[in-house]
């Protein structure tokens, strides 16, 4: 038993010290009838050799970005992860430590979170960030609850071009609160319909939620949406599921958003079948004390040295219990660190260059697919690195055909909208990143053509 460091003599000595004859004596406070009589029905202990065999076998049964030309996005993206990121994350001092409750021996984690918060503020062009949340969907749900708490108004207007899973999470979180979700449709150009938004705002709202680039890949007019919201004293929450876009696009804070939430997976976090990822939230300074979760701040010791601590804890559950701003306790610390390292490596020039390259490649792919007979690009709004292509055929069939040619195609959108958005029945969302070569893109276009 390789994880148990006690020898037989140690166990004997410790049992003697506690006055027990055998380990089973230590469990007499559990009523006899509830104590397990035999062993659990769990397979016998496996060696590392056996584990590698078993898990390796499972791994080989997946198609993925490691083996296929990959064009799937929709809230999780196949980006490059620099070698330094996993190497640094593998430092035991980072990944085997806990929430920094003792700042004197946790300055590494605390300073890294402080740097993370600073980077999130720079990207989003807002004033404050917390130490991270679980993922993009839960971050949006938390943001909606912030808006609800601040305004005390029940209505929350959500664009139907927000990631459908995020909207589902918002519904789950708020199902027992006095919150009413009002979904406004996207228009013919692929962006939230401004007239429908204005009409929904007539009745007043706690917040307007838009995503940019939105779930259809389109860059929203965040400035117009937030101006409309502001005129009705509603907060604007902007979702960003592809934060690499912020290397080329203004932070939503600069366009009038009051809260920006999103998914940080693109920065140093592997696809890993959906998690662990990194939810982020940033807000205007006036909302600081309404934010959920951990926040790190700068502090000084008695001799004036700079250090970092968890701060503004009176918002939190361990102090305020049922009156806390959220029940959240841990964050996604290690993933926030991954993003911090990746963003540091990219830096001022690198992030911009990465974003530019993503855009060029996506634009090339869009032009190639637009030229394919039986394909068209239904939306005219500008996009970043993801766009919708409509096929004359069944998107599922197209993707199955691509798979045979070693390509994981885009996302069949009808499935994500549960068949309720007929305009998307033949739509495929294609994501293109720096990982896709021109050869792959050409192959994708040819394969799509061949499948129709």
């Amino acid at each position: 038993m390789r994880f148990f460091p006690q020898g037989d003599a140690d166990v004997r000595a410790m049992l003697d010290a506690v006055g027990a004859r055998a380990a089973s004596d230590l469990f007499t406070s559990i009523p006899e009838k509830f104590r397990c009589k035999g062993l659990l029905d769990i397979p016998a202990a496996a060696s590392e050799i056996e584990l590698r065999r078993e898990f390796g076998g499972w791994a080989r049964r997946n198609a993925g970005a490691g083996t296929h030309a990959f064009f799937l996005g929709g809230g999780a993206y196949n980006h490059d992860i620099p070698a330094a990121v996993p190497q640094l994350l593998n430092r035991s001092e980072f990944y085997t430590s806990y929430t920094p409750y003792q700042p004197e021996i946790s300055q590494g984690t605390l300073q890294a979170i402080f740097e993370y918060q600073s980077l999130v503020c720079l990207l989003t062009e807002l004033d404050v960030s917390n130490a991270s949340l679980y993922d993009g969907a839960s971050a949006l749900a938390e943001a909606v609850m912030v808006a609800h708490r601040v305004s005390r108004r029940p209505r929350v207007i959500v664009s139907s071009a927000v990631h459908p899973h995020y909207l589902m999470a918002v519904r789950t979180y708020t199902q027992n609160l006095d919150v009413q979700i009002d979904v406004v449709p996207f228009g013919a150009d692929g962006r939230t319909d401004p007239a429908a938004l204005a009409a929904a705002l007539e009745k007043g709202a706690a917040a307007v939620v838009v995503q940019s680039p939105n779930f259809l890949g389109c860059i929203e007019d965040v400035a117009a949406a937030s101006a409309a919201a502001k005129a009705r004293e509603a907060l604007t929450i902007c979702v960003v599921t592809e934060p690499v876009s912020l290397g080329l696009l203004r932070g939503p804070g600069a366009l009038g958003a009051d809260v920006v939430v999103g998914e940080g997976q693109s920065f140093g976090v592997p696809l890993s079948f959906g998690g662990p990822y990194l939810g982020f939230i940033a807000a205007r300074e006036s909302l600081t004390r309404q934010l959920p979760g951990r926040i790190v701040g700068e502090a000084r010791d008695a001799e004036g040295r700079r250090g970092f601590v968890l701060t503004l804890a009176t918002r939190e559950q361990h102090i305020r219990r049922e009156r806390a701003t959220s029940n959240i306790c841990t964050n996604q610390g290690l993933l926030a660190l991954a993003a911090t390292i990746h963003l540091s490596l990219l830096g001022r020039e690198g992030l911009h260059a990465l974003a530019v390259q993503n855009h060029h490649k996506a634009a090339y792919a869009a032009s190639r697919l637009a030229a394919v007979k039986g394909c068209r690009l239904p939306f005219s709004a500008p996009f970043f690195n993801e766009f919708v292509v409509e096929v004359q055929g069944d998107p599922g069939e197209v993707n199955r055909s691509l798979l045979k040619r070693g390509i994981v195609g885009g996302l069949a959108l009808g499935r994500l909208y549960g068949g309720k958005e007929r305009r998307l029945d033949r739509a495929i969302l294609i994501a293109v990143t720096e990982m896709n070569t021109r050869e792959e893109i050409d192959r994708l276009a040819e394969a799509v053509e061949g499948s129709l």
Partner: protein, 497 residues
């Protein structure tokens, strides 16, 4: 610059924004292999160039910065980390390797399930194991942390009551509960009422019965509770709640005491969450990612978040047709990488090893208790399981408090225990060593604790002024909260604001 304080070669580390200089880069891309697009589709006002204020550093700068930062941290791989209720056990290295296997780490959550059979199989196998370990009927692995799981559990309790007619108004929570419990109940729209702890450190059954009306939706308990004590009257507690139509939620934070020894499902628990980052060895990562699977009895199965992973004639499928489901709580399948690690851990230990987890964890905790309770009296004499709660009662008259003991432990090279929790114990020192500590490490800790108690008599200022050897001293948290500085700003901007 203040006087150096660090031992050896540790130095004061500037933030990443304070190192580097214009033009330094730590990243490179292949040359663009497609024609450049015309940016004009993106409106001018929405575009931006390089972001001023972002770091400008080389790979060397980045690596040194973060390695230096790492050295300012304590970690399980350095030694005992006896945070009570946090179960800081060793994180097996094979888990990390397996979670990074390409076929698992580079699979996308929105792939057609037919192309992700391996990932879905991992989720299914883990669920099967957790069902066996806990005796619960089914699990969702979507919740990303314990508190997330609590919210899911309470939402399901509510959904059940709504289905039976009305949601009811109140959730009962023992006064020794984690703060997340009442906060989670409030998120589901419930009022929270406390149940007192009795003289034995357990839920006061008579008080529970008195509070248990038809308006109570359920009871959230932790078992063993946060005093490390098994709720001996669990059968009576569950019956009292069920008699009035309520449901029992178990916070599985302390499941490490029960693995292979007793199963919550057998005790009539209706819903529980586990913390894979506690009981099942996934690393805490400096505060996440965690993972908080939720298990339910048959009564609550219809309400589990969608989708569920299921087996159908040898293939893994996603079951999304769940009309009574509370809905989705995560972007995708939850913290899948943690599921891989937890399953690897369960496979590594097997049935024999899992039982040994609880046995050794409880032995280690009781050993510390036996060796320290003369100087740090236990709050309750009742036998405890995987953790022990001591107090600073004997030190108080010397003017030394629990916080001082914790800070002095830093000078002896140990991470302190959880302190001032549970709230029902004055000056609580909550120690959970876990099963992965050797006797020698426990003995060294015991010696340090005994030495500190001695110092409290002979040189109380030494203890009150601790720590003396860490990179920074006690930081002024009150001032930090009064004038929050939550992001880096260059000095000149600070002067301006």
């Amino acid at each position: 610059m203040s006087a150096p304080r660090r031992a050896g070669v540790l130095r004061e580390e500037p933030t990443i924004f304070e190192v580097g200089s214009r033009g330094r880069v730590g990243h490179s891309l292949p040359p663009l292999d497609v024609p450049e697009s015309d940016f004009s589709t993106i409106p001018e006002g929405v575009r931006r160039g390089p972001i001023d204020g972002m770091p400008e550093v080389s790979e060397v700068d980045v690596v040194r910065h973060f390695v230096r930062l790492s050295r300012l941290n304590y970690a399980v791989d350095l030694g005992l980390y006896p945070l009570g209720s946090c179960t800081m056990k060793y994180n097996p290295k094979i888990n990390e390797e397996l979670a990074r296997v390409e076929g698992l780490a580079r699979a996308h959550p929105l792939q057609d399930p037919e192309t992700a059979q391996g990932c879905l199989r991992v989720i299914w196998e883990l669920e099967r194991s957790l069902r066996q370990i806990t005796g619960m009927q089914r699990f969702t692995l979507q919740p990303a942390a314990g508190a997330h799981g609590e919210m899911v559990g309470i939402l399901m309790i509510r959904a059940h009551h709504v289905k039976s007619g009305r949601p009811r108004a109140t959730i009962l929570v023992p006064d020794s509960a984690h703060g997340t419990n009442p906060a989670s109940a409030a998120m589901a729209g419930y009022k929270v009422e406390q149940v007192p702890t009795n003289a034995k450190g357990c839920i006061d059954l008579a008080a529970l019965r008195a509070k248990m009306t038809g308006e109570v939706a359920g009871l959230m308990l932790t078992n063993p509770n946060t005093l490390g004590i098994f709720e001996e009257e669990i059968e009576g507690i569950v019956a009292a709640v069920h008699e009035k139509g309520g449901l029992v939620y178990m916070d599985g934070a302390n499941m490490n005491a029960l693995v292979g020894v007793a199963r919550p499902g057998d005790m009539g628990i209706d819903v529980l969450h586990l913390n894979l980052h506690k009981t099942f060895s996934t690393p805490h990562g400096g505060g996440g990612p965690g993972s908080g699977p939720v298990g339910v009895s048959r009564t609550l199965e219809p309400y589990l978040p969608a989708p569920l992973v299921e087996e159908s004639s040898g293939r893994m499928v996603l079951n999304e047709k769940r009309p009574d489901s509370i809905g989705r709580v995560s972007s995708f399948f939850g913290n899948f990488g943690m599921h891989v690690r937890a399953l690897a851990y369960i496979r590594s230990l097997g049935a024999d090893g899992l039982r040994l987890v609880a046995e050794r964890a409880v032995l280690n905790a009781n050993y510390i208790r036996a060796k320290l309770k003369d100087l740090y009296p236990v709050a309750f004499e009742t036998p405890s399981l995987h953790e022990t709660i001591l107090s600073d009662r004997l030190l108080e008259e010397k003017g030394v408090r629990t916080l001082d003991v914790a800070k002095r432990l830093l000078d002896y090279g140990f991470h302190p225990p959880t302190i001032y929790f549970p709230l029902v114990v004055h000056g609580a020192i909550m120690i959970e060593p876990t099963e992965t500590e050797p006797k020698a490490e426990l003995d060294a800790f015991i010696t340090a604790m005994r030495t500190i108690a001695h110092e409290a008599s002979t040189d109380p200022d030494l203890v009150r002024g601790a720590p003396h050897t860490t990179p920074v001293g006690r930081l002024d948290e009150a001032e930090a909260a009064r004038r929050p500085r939550l992001r880096y700003k260059p000095e000149r901007d600070r002067a301006a604001s």
